[in-house]
């Protein structure tokens, strides 16, 4: 059977302190310390990384084809802004502009 030297580790990183964690690639390593030490130069020798995570693949719940079917769904406009497009016209009738996403968030986004 497969040697414990060749465990699969998935490598994730953040480019900057504020960016989201992103999957990069995978590598083989006998344990997580070596996985980490090798991940840095295998995947970040040119680009900067503010943070690197290595996760043993066995510890990740992944989806098979059937489960991938289970994440599909029909469109649900009532959950999205596009279900409320008519409001713009309505507000005009009251001589008001509809609040944009930016207005609603009070300029606090980003």
């Amino acid at each position: 059977m497969s040697s414990p030297f060749y465990e699969v580790y998935e490598v994730f990183s953040k480019k900057t302190d504020t960016s989201a964690l992103q999957h990069q690639f995978s590598l083989l390593a006998p344990n997580e310390e070596l996985a980490f030490v090798m991940a840095k130069e295998n995947f970040f020798r040119r680009e900067q990384a503010a943070d690197i995570w290595v996760v043993k693949r066995d510890h990740i719940k992944r989806m098979n084809s059937e489960e991938k079917e289970a994440v599909k769904h029909l469109e649900k406009s009532y959950r999205e802004t596009k279900g409320y497009g008519y409001l713009k016209k309505k507000w005009r009738q009251y001589e008001q502009e509809q609040l944009t996403a930016k207005d609603i968030m009070g300029g606090g986004e980003g």
Partner: protein, 317 residues
């Protein structure tokens, strides 16, 4: 329950509509086999491809060139890593891993690109490999960026981004030689002469008539590739022949010319029997390079044993 025909139709529909197949998805056995064959050959070629250039790493003629060629050989190993990981994930359901890839290489079952069986006796070869061999590799790799197999596409994307550096590293070496002394120009011309046939061979035969077998058709049907060997070779000639000539260098093929009528390059066919011999391990450097790779595998086996014991895997935090 769905029948195997329905499953196959569903699979082909996904491919034809441009969806990407992932490692855990259902795939027909011959798709998996085609991928394993293609990607493990590509991956091991990167690993074996590090060896001819590695010869020139310590000898590179300035500290800057030493740094650059070291980075280049490192990238080749890195590309091998990416590609082998993709192949290994495909092999996992078959109970095979990297050890099996190495053993297949040593037994001759797994082949590597013809160019890496050849000698690289001068610094000129270091330049020509980076410029033209990598140039040829870029053409075939970018063609496969749109591959139907998602993980391969992602690996290729990373690889292609680095190939641009390789090509420029190569251009920089050959430019210095082309603009250098008489000895340096001779060095460069000799390298081009030495590599020309191998470069034509790199793309493989035009049709299966030349070698008796070819996986081109299946690979195209499964959208693993989008162009034929000959299309790629023509692209290579269009891209590089004018540049070689512009530097005042020659190509060792008096019949080479661009036919305006057919819009195709005419060239002297390489000896495809020779090609077959080379890729089956009978090239001028095949044995030595394989021996070097095997040596590395054997002399370090104690390291894999030491860290591959479950004891250490558990102890290490």
């Amino acid at each position: 329950m769905i029948t195997s025909n329905e499953r196959m139709d569903h699979f082909m529909n996904r491919i034809n509509s441009g969806e990407k197949i992932e490692a855990d998805d259902w795939m027909p056995d011959d798709y998996r086999e085609a991928l394993i064959r293609l990607i493990s050959m590509h991956g091991i070629s990167e690993i074996m491809g590090a060896l001819p250039e590695k010869e020139w790493v310590p000898k590179a003629p300035s500290i800057y060139r030493k740094l650059a060629i070291m980075a280049k050989v490192q990238d080749e190993m890195g590309h091998g890593q990416l590609l082998l990981r993709v192949a290994e994930d495909l092999m996992e359901p078959l109970g095979r891993n990297r050890d099996d890839i190495m053993k297949d290489l040593f037994s001759g079952k797994l082949k590597f690109h013809n160019v890496f069986h050849m000698k690289a006796p001068t610094w000129g070869d270091a330049g020509v490999i980076a410029w033209l061999v990598d140039g040829a590799a870029i053409i075939s790799q970018t063609m496969m960026l749109g591959t139907s197999y998602g993980p391969y596409g992602r690996a290729l994307k990373r690889i292609c981004a680095e190939e641009v550096f390789h090509a420029q590293h190569g251009e920089s070496i050959i430019m210095a030689l082309a603009e250098g002394t008489k000895e340096q120009r001779t060095l460069l011309q000799d390298s081009i002469n030495r590599w020309w046939t191998s470069l034509l061979m790199f793309f493989g035969p035009k049709t299966n008539v030349e070698t008796g077998h070819s996986h081109q058709d299946k690979n195209m049907r499964y959208k693993l590739r989008t162009k034929t060997n000959e299309q790629l070779r023509q692209e290579f000639l269009t891209k590089y022949v004018p540049r070689v000539w512009a530097l005042g260098l020659t190509i060792p093929d008096p019949t080479l010319k661009f036919d305006e009528e057919t819009s195709e390059w005419q060239y002297q066919q390489p000896d495809w029997e020779e090609f077959k011999k080379i890729v089956t391990g009978h090239g001028p450097k095949s044995k030595e390079r394989l021996a070097l790779r095997m040596r590395s595998y054997e002399m370090n086996s104690w390291v894999r044993e030491a860290l591959g014991t479950s004891k250490v895997s558990n102890i290490a935090r």
